[in-house]
């Protein structure tokens, strides 16, 4: 279970770790948006350099990022195959009936791989360096204006942070129950599809019972400690932008300018 990197937070004290979570969310979002406009080698090169810089600033081993990409390699591969074989254009390099490989198809495929990897890495950096609870409070702050439209933003953010908090707990619990049932002779990895589907019942029932119990316990614990509604709570951590946030904003603007110039020139 430890091999899943996407969505995992790794504590640290790097420059990126210390940024305000709102900055990280906004900049990640902007970066991904900008990336959608990339259409030439030059633009991808700038975007890659920018990302490399950010990765360097996180002070995390490169191996970790590779671990993050590995589980979705097959998805990338699938998209690449679609791109290679089903893109129209000239010149055609190879053809068999309706399947053909064209030069634009090949180039597109490479672009898609780069874009995929860049987007995944940038979002991985965001979740890797930001505790889930900070992400939740950042979202609450960013979506604040929606409160005027009667959207229960505070409650939604609270639900999100509780849900995120429970993920590792439930994974742990799943492992424990699997161990217990394995000790009673259940095999989760052998047998036909029906046998495997049946094997899930002794796993899911205790998992749900336990999760509901935990949810009740948590609700009680919150009420006992005076929780009424999410709207009127003051905060433990007050979000504030610092110099580093302005600097990173500035870096992003710089990146956008360089990117646009290259984009316009078509390099």
């Amino acid at each position: 279970m430890n091999s899943i990197v996407i969505g995992r937070y790794i504590p640290g004290n790097s420059w990126i770790h210390r940024l305000d979570p709102r900055t990280k969310i906004i900049l990640t979002f902007v970066y991904i948006m900008i990336l959608l406009f990339a259409n030439s080698w030059g633009t991808y090169l700038v975007a890659t350099i920018f990302l490399a810089g950010v990765i360097y600033l996180t002070k995390q081993p490169l191996n970790l990022y590779w671990q993050g990409i590995k589980p979705i390699l097959w998805l990338i591969l699938f998209t690449v195959i679609l791109q290679i074989f089903f893109t129209d254009g000239q010149p055609v390099l190879w053809q068999w009936r309706f399947i053909k490989v064209t030069l634009p198809g090949l180039i597109n495929a490479i672009y898609v791989v780069i874009r995929f990897v860049l987007i995944i890495l940038m979002s991985t950096i965001m979740t890797l360096t930001t505790p889930p609870t900070s992400i939740a409070s950042a979202l609450e702050s960013l979506l604040g204006p929606l409160k005027k439209l009667k959207v229960p933003v505070a409650e939604l953010a609270l639900m999100l942070s509780i849900a995120l908090r429970f993920v590792p707990l439930l994974m742990d619990e799943t492992q424990k129950i699997m161990n217990a049932q394995k000790s009673r002779g259940m095999s989760f990895s052998t047998g036909g599809p029906i046998k495997r589907a049946k094997a899930v019942v002794p796993l899911l029932v205790p998992l749900f019972v336990g999760a509901l119990q935990r949810a009740l316990d948590l609700a009680n614990a919150m009420e006992v400690r005076g929780f009424k509604d999410a709207d009127h709570r003051t905060r433990y951590r007050i979000l504030a932008y610092h110099r580093a946030d302005y600097i990173s904003g500035l870096m992003m603007v710089l990146f956008i300018i360089v990117f646009s110039l290259i984009n316009l020139k078509g390099w």
């Binding site: 430890n2 009673r184 002794p202």
Partner: protein, 285 residues
């Protein structure tokens, strides 16, 4: 059915991220006896016992369970045979219950190992009788029972498989005194049936009462393997160092000695304590 650990190392993760949990463990758990594993939280007790039924495989070294050799190379398919030999009751085992009725839940393991329905049912009934759950509860949903009763059902689920080795990971945690006493009776009963019982426990009184052999774990190593009597006669400073306590009788005797009492031997059970006090008083009279 002795269990032998030969230079067992175990770590989570790989490469630079790896964390050693067990360090070079070589020891034997005697057959047909009750062995207690003690040590503070995080010392590796649960990790160690999960090597006995192959939930974990040693990173280096091997574990020999009767004639089964468990190494890092052992395949998942071979492990089913091992799990029929080793029953394991986890901490808070009631969290593994899932079936519609108590009886069905206890039968689950036997059916997994390919017993026919009738034999499984008989084994389940025998196991439920052994843990002392009255038959009026057998057709109820396990979720309708009290916590202590659920614990019994879960333990019965393991006993029904009739494995020669039974591992219990803190089975008494959260039970009331009566439940704990019954658990002790159950373990002694299993020993009478010539089963090898491995018990993880934080209760030194329980260890002193039931165990024939103790393993003390500290920071991933076995630092003592001896009888409980030998163990609890070690100097007090040693217990402080490894964050363990004497049984209640021993602690009480320490308090008396602080008041000027003298004992020839350190009393370890309440019975020994009473005798020792009686002797002291008679001498003074």
């Amino acid at each position: 059915m002795a269990i032998t650990f030969e230079q067992v190392n175990f770590s989570y993760g790989q490469g630079s991220l790896s964390q050693p949990i067990l360090k070079d463990i070589s020891t034997t758990i005697p057959s047909g006896k009750i062995t207690a594993i003690i040590g503070q939280t995080g010392s590796g007790k649960s990790t160690l016992v999960q090597h006995i039924n192959g939930l974990l495989k040693p990173t280096n070294g091997k574990v020999i369970i009767n004639d089964f050799e468990l190494t890092s190379q052992t395949k998942e398919k071979q492990l089913v045979a091992l799990r029929a030999q080793v029953g394991m009751v986890f901490q808070f085992p009631e969290s593994q219950l899932f079936a519609n009725t108590v009886l069905e839940d206890v039968m689950y393991g036997s059916l997994n190992f390919g017993q026919d329905h009738l034999a499984a049912k008989e084994a389940a009934q025998a196991a439920l009788t052994m843990v002392g759950l009255p038959s009026q509860h057998w057709d109820k949903s396990p979720f309708a029972l009290s916590g202590g009763q659920m614990r019994r059902v879960a333990i019965a689920g393991t006993l029904a498989l009739n494995p020669p080795i039974i591992v219990l990971d803190e089975p008494a945690a959260g039970l009331d005194p009566l439940g704990q006493a019954e658990l002790v009776k159950l373990m002694l009963n299993l020993k009478k049936q010539d089963k090898t019982v491995v018990l993880i426990s934080h209760q030194m009184d329980q260890v002193m009462t039931v165990a024939d052999w103790t393993l003390v774990m500290h920071q991933g190593q076995v630092i003592a393997a001896e009888t409980p009597t030998t163990l609890f006669n070690r100097p007090l400073s040693w217990f402080k160092k490894v964050h363990l306590d004497l049984p209640t009788a021993g602690q009480f005797a320490q308090q008396l000695m602080a008041q000027g009492w003298q004992f020839k031997e350190r009393p370890l059970t309440l019975e020994q304590l009473a005798q020792a006090i009686n002797q002291e008083v008679t001498i003074h009279e």
